[in-house]
Symmetry: C2
Subunit: 412 residues, 2 copies
């Protein structure tokens, strides 16, 4: 590390995805190149997100990943290898102490570049930090790199990590469809998919229609109010067509009055961001079907595996996730700050995107819902326009390294 060169720091925050380490690998690759070109000292990793910067818990990533094969493996390792946190920073006017500690660390390690890979809440941190740096006159380039399986960040065509989760969900739903179709007994299977406010991931359950022509009978997203009578009528109608009825629902589906369908089974607990903690929409609907239709019914929560199933990633997603990490380094070195890296889709066929840095002010905290034209009129299926949007994001398969029959993971 040359003394006069600025160093960079990177952190991961929020819930895990199968691609968040691919973006980290992209940032490391970008940093290694910049270091080689004499433009950067080194790249530090914060352990456990911003907590690592507050407690001086760092790791020199240029040293750790001197062997590029380790970066290949990192790209196929799920969840945040650096560790994560759910801490949301207050503004620097409300909590100056925290910012004092952060900038003391930046000064100590000669940090000139700050990369934060995360979701909505993390982009809020990026925004606050860039504003604070400017007000303090500290020369820090702050870049947000999005990741979320929810695909609900504004200003980007899609988010890194979404394509892999969508591929996992669509594959698993397709396999469940094979499983439940083996019997002639009338039965309803209800699959609950992650998505508190936006139904993007649940919408991807419709993708099997593009590969074999079959898919779930009914798909419900949070974007359309859920009506129990209409649901039961639709299940009944589907059962006329075939005995095994498959329903996919977002965890966040709500009734017209805004109440979560899953709320009945909840304790009303909220996470540290005040989000309602949900798990139960499918289980509630299981009871409803049992009571109203009296047939065999089973609910399945895809749960954590849908966000950490790195053995089944979208090659498109992983390649883009690496590229966006690299692009973040390039943007920072070119002098940008207070931006989030976004994808802009320039063509559907062939599918093409550009990576574009966007000012983060208007992006943080905005939630992007599934547009109404991607959902069918009756609110229980996905349109062709929706499938056209989703289809390219799950294309291609990665080649994870297997060791003794199991995927090899990088553990820091």
């Amino acid at each position: 590390m040359e003394k006069h060169l600025k160093n960079a720091i990177v952190g991961q925050s929020g819930g895990p995805t199968a691609a968040i380490n691919a973006t980290l690998a992209g940032v490391i690759r970008g940093a290694l190149d910049a270091k080689g070109e004499g433009k950067l000292g080194t790249l530090y990793g914060m352990r456990y997100g911003i907590e690592g910067a507050l407690s001086d818990n760092l790791i020199d990533l240029c040293c750790r990943f001197a062997d590029p094969r380790e970066l290949d493996a990192l790209e196929n390792t799920p969840a945040a290898a650096l560790g994560s946190c759910r801490r949301k920073l207050k503004s620097h006017t409300d909590d100056p102490d925290t910012y004092d500690r952060l900038f003391a660390l930046f000064a100590k390690y000669n940090i000139g570049y700050f990369f934060y890979i995360g979701g909505n809440d993390s982009m809020d941190t990026v925004h606050k930090l860039s504003v604070c740096a400017e007000e303090r006159g500290y020369d820090l380039r702050v870049i947000g790199v999005p990741k979320t399986i929810d695909n609900d960040l504004a200003a980007t065509d899609h988010t890194p990590g979404f394509g892999s989760a969508a591929k996992y969900v669509a594959t698993t739903v397709k396999e469940i469809l094979r499983d439940v179709s083996v019997y002639t007994v009338k039965a309803v299977t209800i699959v609950e998919i992650m998505g508190r406010d936006a139904g993007w991931l649940t919408a991807s359950a419709a993708l099997p229609y593009l590969s074999g022509g079959m898919g779930p009978d009914l798909i419900y997203l949070p974007e359309v109010p859920f009506d129990t009578d209409a649901f039961i009528a639709s299940v009944r109608a589907a059962m006329e067509r075939h005995p095994a009825v498959l329903v996919c629902v977002s965890e966040g589906i709500r009734f017209a009055d805004g109440e979560y369908v899953g709320a009945g089974t909840q304790s009303g607990a909220v996470d540290v961001f005040g989000h309602k903690y949900l798990a139960g929409a499918a289980r509630v609907l299981e009871s409803v079907v049992k009571e109203r239709l009296g047939c065999k019914v089973r609910s399945i929560e895809l749960s954590l595996p849908q966000r950490c199933g790195a053995h089944l990633c979208s090659l498109t997603d992983i390649r883009e996730s690496v590229a966006v990490g690299r692009a973040a380094v390039a943007s920072a070195l070119s002098g940008l700050t207070g931006v989030m890296m976004t994808y802009r889709r320039t063509s559907d066929t062939p599918y093409e995107i550009e990576i574009v840095p966007m000012p983060i002010g208007g992006i943080a905290n905005a939630v992007r819902a599934v547009p109404r034209e991607y959902i069918n009129e009756t609110g229980d299926g996905i349109t062709e326009a929706g499938l056209r949007y989703l289809a390219p994001l799950i294309l291609g398969e990665t080649s994870p390294i297997y060791e003794n029959g199991l995927p090899y993971h990088i553990v820091l």
Copy 2:
């Protein structure tokens, strides 16, 4: 089809696995070869197990799979492509009508060979049918080909389908371990794995220890009585070592008095075989941990995906599953009847097996539990001997065909 040649019939029964179609493909490959050699007319498939034979719902599989590429795809399609059933035949003395209908169909289609791919209950059907054929003096060679993710059939080293489910479980547990390890907050995650009477599949959750040295903190099988106080003490001790504690439990874990841990959440419903319908051990333990330790806790049921996740199969399992299907045809043509095809392990290193037909009389209805020496002394982990047994069964990866980003499945 030559008139003078006997035909064969094959059916699939019981719960789906990711490998049951590989065995079907093996039977078809064997039949196509025998047909080519002038030893067999054709091979019919029964739709929905024995129901298809009772209702004359058959498909000519030699015609359907004239293109061998379709057989490659069938080997990577999960669940029973022919359909399945859960019908358990009564004995021919108790229910002669059913057997009259079966033998009328056999006569109509000139059936000389009967293959049934299934679990414990299906092997019981094979046994009854072979006894009845002999008593009736009908020349029928009846061969059982095992399949079950539960690995609980007697007389075989392991069952076709188990290795793939074990690989899926071990991979998913390894990925969940990455996911839950990202935070510094104390949290317990409880993963529920299939296995009503035998803990083989849950035991495979220990396999990550052979690939990276990390794995679940605690593993509980039905073979050892579950003690809630010991469980809580063990979770507490694990939490001293690291904040994220990972526990894996069989759905069928029981207290010392024989009551299922999950029974408290059940309606007491039983399936058509009189098995108690279980789903809930992890959820019960989630409540216990919340109450006794007060920390964050989450339960995850791996549910159906663990038995139909054909995108992540053990190559060893799939190859063996095809081979055992072929061997069944060879055994039938050589004149055997009333046998189940079994695996005999002849060597651990290198791993080698032989396929051996065994008289089915003593096998049907016997359940093979995990031996005590595979479980550690405290009953909450797997020994090296257990890992040595399990390790070779998950080796190798298959190459499913992908179409538009999703696995291609054969639908009959």
